[in-house]
């Protein structure tokens, strides 16, 4: 399968979806990301990433309820699939391994 590895922003989006649990729809993801990273997150970018993640099979989506503020349009809720979870864990492991190779830094952090 082509391109199953996670990009940096993809990983962030995936993590946000996991963190938001049952409330992960596009606007909420944007807001959450903006809150945590402190940078402004464009809806278009998030949409594109969501589309790509779904294509890769890391997330799945279902349509939810409609609200007044959305002009009667339904939300699309995302949830992380098991392969998405696996990809997240793998990405974390890779990082952890790399972190452990840097003694100075890890000391500084732990201290």
């Amino acid at each position: 399968m082509k391109g199953t590895n996670l990009g940096e922003f993809e990983e962030l989006v995936l993590l946000t979806i996991a963190a938001l649990v049952n409330d992960a729809y596009s606007v909420a993801i944007c807001d959450e990301l903006a809150r945590h990273t402190g940078r402004s997150v464009k809806l278009g970018v998030v949409h594109a990433v969501l589309n790509r993640l779904e294509e890769k099979g890391f997330i799945r989506s279902k349509l939810g309820e409609a609200t007044q503020v959305r002009g009667g349009k339904r939300k699309r809720y995302y949830s992380v699939t098991s392969s998405g979870k696996a990809a997240l864990i793998q990405a974390k492991e890779v990082r952890d391994q790399l972190w452990s190779l840097i003694p100075g830094l890890s000391v500084k952090f732990s201290g």
Binding site: Y25, S26, V27, L43, G44, H47, A48, N51, L63, A66, V69, R70, G71, K73, R74, K75, R76
Partner: protein, 876 residues
């Protein structure tokens, strides 16, 4: 409750149009949510902006809808059905289809003419291999800083030679000089041939093919000549001739060094032979003027510049050349520039063209006219199609219920439009063939430059044009029908708002009639001017005067023969025919005011010219006979000359005997004539004119004829001519014919405007007829009920036609004053000696249009008013 702010409708529609259906709902929701948020934060205006920007930013590969294969498949499958139903509709509504086809065909025929013209223009000079690299050197003349804005297609031989010899960056310079030609004799055969002097660059720049001879050297040696195949065939009956000798004008002998393939029709230059330019170097070796910098009226120069980037440098070199050479002629500045070969036929209108051209003004005017006509016809079609919606919307409704999508309905109506337009094309090609000769006859230059042959390429363009027109005309009805809601139509027909656009359609009818009226009135006004100019009092008599071109024959020989004819009342000699657009100028100077010199117009005449033409002498006397050998010492001037030199025009006899320098020769004023129209009747009359006595310069014989049977007299003269000059055909025209010929341009524009007016009124009538038929048919029930209740037929007719007559009234009120204003303020001030506008033209055009429309409206309303109400009401 206050309405919540909404994002722009069109942006939403755009999103819905391009976005994939699976993504659309979520995306729309997101954008709405953001919009609501932005409204709070930044206000509605800014939020709407952001919304629009977001919609555009969301256009990404993954959001854009892929064209559905199924949809496409359905379209291809349905095409057969579209064609079948369209055919049925066309047949069912014979009247509407007839109106549409005829209307489109008439206006399309004009479009076809335009396409033909454009295709011809584009095919000009295409046979030259280096056509894209060939440029013509043009020149602009300025004297004492005065420049009349006239750009010449010619340049000086000096400049051409300098470019050829000293410039870099070109791959050859072709130099052509006019005035090579005359009677060519070989053995027993003598025929007149004409052509140019040309240098050897002729065959490197242009792709004229030699079938005999070497192109590199054919025009090198003095006294060599290259003949076209046709000329060679005329001389020897065959196309071989290299090495043979021809004698020109019984004077010099030339050796034939090449035989050239005939020039294709669509070439901007035509000639029968070329002589080497180096010959002029021999013949004119002691003529200082030959290589003068300001002798820029006779030579054309073409350069081949392969590298388009070198053009700028070339232009700089031309400017440098001008700067250097301007010093050789006092007070004169001549600027040179380059004109691409492709722009010669339809580019700026330059003077001194090498052959007839069309010019961009013609192309622009013609294209605009065509555009107006086609738009008008297209509107008509749209109009009529939508007007028919009462009958057709149910059909569309059922289609939609069965499952047709918007695009299918659109496809259906587009196919109908295209079918109709293709049917019209058949008709209009017939019209095209019929119109073509009349169109080409309208103007000399058009007859000489255009062919409009029905080639496969042209037919191909016609079909493309017809399809495009059909698609365009069918597009708006298609959109209209595609919007129809199936349920509404099927439940209640009146729910369709057909009449919503009735004002627009009424406006359209007013517009079409206004245009027609303007064209008709304009044509009539110009026609009146034309008649006025033909009958204009030129200040002398032109009646029954036949002007015979001498064509190089001795005037006295012809004159002697003519005088023996009993019908000939008198014969005079002149160098040119005045008042038909011929001009000849010379300089005049008062020796007592040496700084003041003026250009005066000129004619060389003999002693019989004055009495024959009834020119009025205010003072002094006519010329008296002098032998050719006598020195020229006398001149007759007109009043304007006296005014120009402040010689006291009030008392012309006082200037008699005064010596003036004409062309450097001191001459005595022996007579003062009344001002007459030296130029054409539509030019200003205050020209300074001098008549000089020099019968040896005569090019024409002016023969006054008194005859009961003019054709017989003409034939006898022709027979006489044959005896004197067997080589040249007899060329003689009556003075009044010459004048008529000089206004050919005006008569051509009358024909053109008249034709366009005819088209416009045809299209407008069809639009009106369609509208009348539509309204009367939809009101059939109302009319029937009125009739049952006792309304008379005439009241009913009045009721139905009142609205239309009002529309026509508005059109007349708008169009006629506008036309008068336009002619009074814009056109007529540019024509000298024009006659004043009268109300008659406007009245005539209004009456004729009203009559035509009245007949149409009357016939239809009469037909409806006469229908049996029982038949209508029973079937309801």
């Amino acid at each position: 409750m206050k309405k919540t702010p909404q994002p722009p409708r069109w942006a939403r529609a755009l999103l819905a149009w391009y976005c994939r259906p699976s993504l659309l709902e979520d995306l729309e929701g997101d954008l709405n949510e953001y919009f609501a948020r932005h409204c709070q934060e930044y206000g509605v205006r800014r939020a709407r902006w952001i919304y629009v920007a977001d919609v555009i930013k969301f256009m990404r590969p993954y959001t854009i809808r892929k064209p559905s294969f199924v949809n496409y498949l359905i379209h291809t499958l349905m095409i057969g059905s579209y064609i079948k139903t369209s055919g049925r509709t066309l047949v069912r509504n014979k009247l509407f289809s007839g109106i549409n086809i005829a209307g489109l065909a008439i206006s399309m025929s004009v479009g076809l003419l335009l396409i033909g013209v454009l295709v011809d223009i584009r095919s000009y000079d295409q046979f030259h291999e280096h056509r894209d690299a060939i440029y013509r050197v043009t020149a602009e003349y300025e004297y004492l800083g005065r420049n009349n804005g006239e750009v010449m297609a010619t340049t000086s031989l000096k400049a051409a030679r300098a470019i050829e010899e000293t410039f870099t960056g070109h791959q050859g310079v072709a130099i052509l000089r006019r005035d090579f030609g005359g009677d060519v004799r070989t053995g027993e055969v003598t025929i007149p041939l004409s052509g140019f002097w040309a240098n050897e660059g002729m065959f490197t720049v242009f792709s004229f093919e030699l079938i005999e001879g070497n192109p590199a050297t054919a025009l090198k040696e003095p006294f060599s000549v290259v003949l076209t195949e046709e000329s060679a065939r005329k001389l020897w009956g065959s196309t071989t001739g290299v090495g043979k000798t021809i004698v020109l004008n019984n004077d010099r002998a030339y050796t034939v060094t090449g035989i050239m393939k005939d020039i294709p029709d669509l070439s901007h230059m035509h000639f029968q032979m070329l002589a080497s330019l180096s010959t002029r170097g021999v013949l004119m070796s002691d003529n200082k003027n030959e290589l003068a910098w300001d002798n820029m009226w006779n030579t054309w120069a073409y350069v081949r510049i392969p590298d388009a980037t070198a053009l700028e440098q070339f232009q700089k070199n031309l400017d440098a050349l001008s700067a250097r050479e301007d010093k050789t002629v006092p007070h004169t500045h001549i600027s040179l520039s380059l004109q691409p070969l492709g722009e010669i036929m339809a580019g700026d209108n330059l003077s001194n063209q090498i052959g007839p051209v069309l010019g961009n003004i013609f192309v622009w005017i013609f294209s605009t006219l065509c555009g107006v006509v086609l738009l008008s016809a297209g509107f008509n079609y749209t109009n009529l199609s939508i007007a028919r919606s009462l009958r057709r919307s149910r059909e569309v409704g059922i289609r939609k219920v069965i499952g047709a999508r918007r695009s299918h309905v659109i496809g259906q109506f587009m196919v109908e439009g295209i079918m109709l337009s293709l049917l019209s094309l058949v008709l209009s090609i017939g019209l095209f063939v019929f119109l073509r000769p009349h169109f080409l006859e309208m103007e000399n230059s058009m007859r000489e430059t255009l062919r409009l042959e029905l080639s496969p390429v042209l037919i191909g363009w016609f079909v493309v044009f017809a399809i495009a027109l059909g698609a365009l005309a069918g597009f708006f009805p298609a959109l209209f029908y595609a919007r129809i809601q199936a349920i509404q139509v099927l439940k209640d027909m009146s729910a369709v708002h057909v009449f919503k656009r009735v004002t627009m359609r009424k406006a359209l009818i007013v517009f079409q009639y206004a245009i027609s009226l303007m064209l008709i009135t304009g044509t009539l006004i110009i026609y009146r001017q034309y008649k006025h100019f033909l009958a204009f009092d030129l200040g002398f008599n032109t009646e029954n005067i036949l002007n015979i071109q001498l064509q190089g024959n001795k005037a006295d020989v012809v004159l002697k023969e003519l005088q023996e004819m009993s019908e000939v009342q008198g014969v005079s000699k002149s160098a040119l025919i005045t008042s038909v657009g011929n001009y000849w100028g010379t300089s005049m100077k008062d020796p007592e005011q040496p700084l003041d010199s003026a250009n005066v117009y000129l004619n060389f005449i003999d002693e019989h010219y004055f009495p024959l033409h009834d020119h009025v002498l205010l003072a002094g006397r006519n010329f008296s006979y002098l032998p050719d050998s006598a020195k020229e010492r006398e001149v007759i001037v007109n009043e304007s000359v006296l005014k120009r030199f402040n010689l006291g025009a009030e008392n012309p006899s006082a200037v008699l005997g005064k010596i003036m320098k004409v062309d450097g020769i001191p001459m005595e004023i022996i007579g003062v004539m009344k001002d007459f129209q030296y130029g054409k009747a539509d030019s200003h009359a205050d020209r300074t004119v001098v008549f000089r006595y020099k019968p040896s310069e005569a090019e024409y014989l002016n023969v006054k004829i008194l005859s009961e049977d003019l054709p017989a007299t003409y034939a006898r003269m022709e027979a006489l001519w044959k005896k004197i000059d067997p080589v040249h055909p007899f060329q003689a025209t009556f003075y009044d014919e010459d004048i008529e010929e000089s206004f050919r341009g005006l008569s051509a524009s009358i024909k053109l405007a008249g034709f366009i007016a005819f088209l416009a009124i045809g299209i407008a009538s069809m639009g009106l007829l369609g509208m009348v038929v539509f309204t009367t048919e939809t009101r059939l029930r109302e009319i029937s009920i009125r009739k049952v209740l006792g309304a008379s037929e005439s009241t009913l007719m009045l009721l139905m036609s009142r609205g239309f007559v009002m529309l026509l009234g508005i059109a007349i009120m708008v169009a006629i004053p506008a036309t008068y204003l336009f002619f009074d303020q814009v056109v007529l001030p540019q024509m000298a000696n024009h006659t004043a506008l009268t109300l008659a033209e406007g009245m005539w055009s209004a009456c004729s249009v009203l009559l035509l429309a009245g007949v149409m409206i009357g016939a239809q309303t009469f037909h409806v008013a006469r229908t049996n109400p029982a038949a209508v009401l029973k079937s309801e």
